[in-house]
Symmetry: C2
Subunit: 321 residues, 2 copies
């Protein structure tokens, strides 16, 4: 099977919203009048971002999900994406699964594959997503303000739980593992929540490298500090029943520095508390208040008794050991 | 050096035209009112698209050039690009060279780096470019018409000459090799020519896999055939003095099926001949008429005496041996 047959068989579908889809030198889209375009790109490498044993349909889902998560963090509406794929060989079974998982998520968000590139090489998946957002309404990292509440969507720490089982550092029951593994391999980008937060939240970021590390980017950009509470790790919508069964320090590590959660971490004025909970309820995504933004710089993590926790939470970095 | 330091040191520059550049979850751009967006993506893999010994500045140039060439083939004006980079290690010397070559070409075309991703992994460079083009004016593969002239820009075959020397299949003088190597490693995307051809040319494609193979895409999409002459391979603007020194069959193979040329192959009505040469002269890119589009399907290559050449010209395919 040649490159063009592979594309035709697995990735070429008629353009729906795009003016011109897969198959020419460029794709063409007609942006809505007056909207800004939001663009993000993420590259997934075998052994670094996923295991070689992962189900290809789940991998197709995840490769797009991590990109949609970036649009969500800006409050953008997904429009279209491109896919560049390096494959060791053209394996139809693998490609069928991969494209099935990819398109299922794409279709759920009305996000159209408009172009791409395939080549022979070590497995590498690079996606660029395009979305749109009204001018001045994108949720950005630099917009946190002292006094803001700090929230996280969904649950955090489960993906790390699965990773530690894969690494042999942790042993749990089979059903616990499968649930955590699904959170790691099938993350849910919070696209509707991101859009609902436009005009309400101040700053937002998606949790990919770990909650505290990603929060650090917001603090640095916004020139503020934060206090992160941990009482919610004793039981709240943000911690799964499975994570609750783990010892306290593991819970802290997995939830605050686990990574791969693809939840939204955002700040909003105190006066918006009711509105935040109402809109979260509208989009059926739990949202938990986990701390607040402070004028004083630095990031303080407090134990449930309000005392500072002095441990180092290492965030995931692609060029650190 | 961590991922964020690497980005800050080598790839982060203040946004100029973009509303928001590198450093948030998404970049933001404001498309010009009424314009369509043209989007293309190309992935370069070591050993497949470039040799491990290539000068990193040249590689930075080429990675963007092959993408700009796709915009050129649609007649689009470059706006911005994203860069995803998998690197075996964070090597500052390499990154300095790579980013220098990349930004030199980007700046020459006013094309801004607005986002990206870096990760550890086998060397892989994936770029997505965004451009804009007035509605209905993009040059597309399906628009060739029977009776059209067929043209190619610049010279073809030189990149393949260099590749065959690298492969040890051909021996040439050092200066010949260096010139051919520069054509292979520093291709010139025909961005201005592509824009000048809007409203004049019918179909266009860039020559990346080989002239005849790429022409085949145009013919298939347009439902037409073509006659390609070869008299121009005995001496014309489309064949370099170095290629002219090679035996006839090598010249045929390199020019018609060599690949990696990044020239524009386009069709235009006979009545536009004068205009084509005038606009080519305006943008200082030679353009050579090399055949014509026929109503009869199929691709016929004629020798300088007008007799059919019956050889197989294999085009480059990333999943064929």
């Amino acid at each position: 099977m040649g490159e063009f047959d592979l594309i035709a068989r697995h990735f070429q579908r008629p353009a729906r919203r795009a003016v011109l889809g897969v198959g020419d030198d460029c794709a063409l889209i007609q942006p809505s009048a007056g909207q800004q375009l939001a663009i993000s790109t993420d590259m997934l490498v075998e052994g670094r971002h996923f295991l070689s044993t992962v189900d290809p349909a789940r991998l197709g889902h995840k490769a797009l999900a991590v990109n949609l998560s970036d649009l969500a963090a800006c409050g953008a509406l997904p429009l279209a994406f491109t896919l560049s794929l390096a494959l060791p060989q053209a394996d139809n079974t693998w490609l069928e699964g991969f494209s099935r998982g990819l398109f299922a998520l794409a279709d759920a968000h009305g996000c159209e594959l408009i172009g791409g590139d395939t080549t022979q090489g070590p497995l590498n998946i690079s996606i660029t997503v395009l979305g749109e957002v009204p001018p001045e309404q994108a949720l950005l990292r630099h917009a946190a303000q002292a006094g803001d509440d700090l929230y996280v969507s969904g649950t955090v720490g489960d993906a790390r739980l699965a990773l530690e089982v894969f690494r042999g550092h942790l042993s749990v029951g089979g059903d616990v593992f499968e649930r955590a593994r699904a959170r790691m391999e099938l993350p849910t980008p919070r696209v509707e929540l991101g859009q609902a937060l436009r005009g309400v939240a101040h700053a937002a970021i998606d949790v990919s490298d770990g909650l505290l590390g990603d929060l650090g980017h917001v603090l640095k950009r916004s020139g503020v500090g934060a206090q992160v509470d941990t009482g919610w790790l004793q039981g709240s919508a943000a911690v799964s029943a499975d994570l609750l069964t783990l010892p306290w320090t593991r819970r802290l590590d997995f939830a605050l520095a686990g990574g791969d959660d693809y939840e939204l971490l955002f700040t909003a004025p105190v006066r918006e508390r009711e509105r935040i909970h109402a809109l979260a309820s509208d989009v059926a995504v739990p949202v938990t208040r986990i701390g607040r933004i402070t004028a004083e710089s630095g990031l303080r993590v407090l134990d449930p008794q309000g005392q500072p926790i002095n441990r180092r939470f290492a965030s995931f970095d692609h060029f650190s050991p």
